[in-house]
Amino acid sequence: MGREVSESCVDSLVIEMVSAYCNRFYASKPELAAPRIEAIGYQVGHQLSERYTIERPRFSDHLEAIKFICKDFWSELFKKQIDNLKTNHRGTFVLQDNRFRWLTRVSIDPSPANTDLSQEPSLATDESKTAQATSMHLYFPCGIIRGALSNLGIPCAVSADISNLPACSFVVRIKA
């Protein structure tokens, strides 16, 4: 029990998965890559949530479930808790991680192997490419959160907000 692998195993696996979906499988249609990356996250979140709550009674309400995500769940994944939780008390929660571990891994991959030469030269600047790579990457943890909550009986939509770097906020909108 408690087997461990190197963090770089997880990091490189996820980075490569995002890259494969964005640059190989759906290179000209990033809108097709995004839901698949999210779906992979969903699967992971659902199964992890199941494992981590196996011996617990069901959560009494949405807030309790969200707090579980912020504390125990986040700690298992990232060795720290969510730093700040906000809600509008109408089904929207904002989970803020002031130093989201996985954001530190994303960088532009300048490798020529990823360039599709048949396409017209992109007008995207380096900055917007980083932004795009980052947002693609964030579909994975958004999926994880959505999958985890789904396992707890809470259907929702999750998006990421990186307007306040280095903090990363996950916006959870619970479906009525």
Binding site: R3, V5, S6, S8, C9, R24
Partner: protein, 186 residues
């Protein structure tokens, strides 16, 4: 400086950030599942897993060389031992054994009894022909290519297919000697 003998891997493990293997196992499983849905053909999934592994291997080798302190291996035999004892330990937290060397020392088997990729995994009948762990063959091939060894890595035994262990055959095809950009004048 004499090359270092392969260590057990434990001091190196301390240098490397470790995380719960479950996240890794489940992420890998979810990826394979999604690939099967999107690519449909098992052969294509095998190919993509290998490609992904290769892309990971060509980068992971840098971390390995930096963190493990292992200097150049004298020969392919030492290389295999380092992969099995130090490499696997550093990244996957398990060790492999090296067996079945051929006569000229260019081909051997890496045998894994424990494999974090496959914890809790069972393959349904619809996945006949899938090499679930194919990412590993790509990682090894990619990593070795960066240190100038061209290899062919294939599966001999796969527990998910009913065998009793995971066995990878690693064959050295070509070793490109290090070249210096200038020659010394005599």
């Amino acid at each position: 400086m004499a090359p270092l003998a392969p260590r057990s891997g434990d001091p190196i493990v301390a240098n490397v950030e470790r995380v719960n293997a479950e996240l890794f196992t489940l992420t890998y499983g979810a990826i394979v599942r999604q690939l099967l849905t999107d690519l449909e053909e098992v052969e294509e999934v095998n190919k993509q897993l290998d490609q992904m592994g290769y892309n990971i291997g060509i980068r992971l080798i840098d971390e390995f060389l930096a963190k493990s302190g292992v200097s150049s291996c004298v020969d392919f035999k030492e290389t295999a031992e380092v992969i099995a004892k130090v490499g696997f330990k550093t990244f996957l937290g398990v060790t492999a054994s090296v067996t079945n060397w051929d006569a000229d020392g260019t081909s051997c088997s890496l045998v894994l009894e424990e494999n974090p990729l496959v914890d809790f995994v069972e393959l349904p009948d619809t996945c006949q022909g899938l090499y679930y762990c194919n990412i590993l063959s790509g990682v090894i091939r990619g990593a070795l290519e960066i240190v100038s060894m061209k290899t062919e890595v294939t599966w001999v035994r796969d527990m998910l297919r009913g065998d009793d262990a995971y066995e990878l055959r690693v064959k050295l095809l070509k070793q490109v000697p290090e070249e210096y950009p200038y020659k010394n004048d005599e």
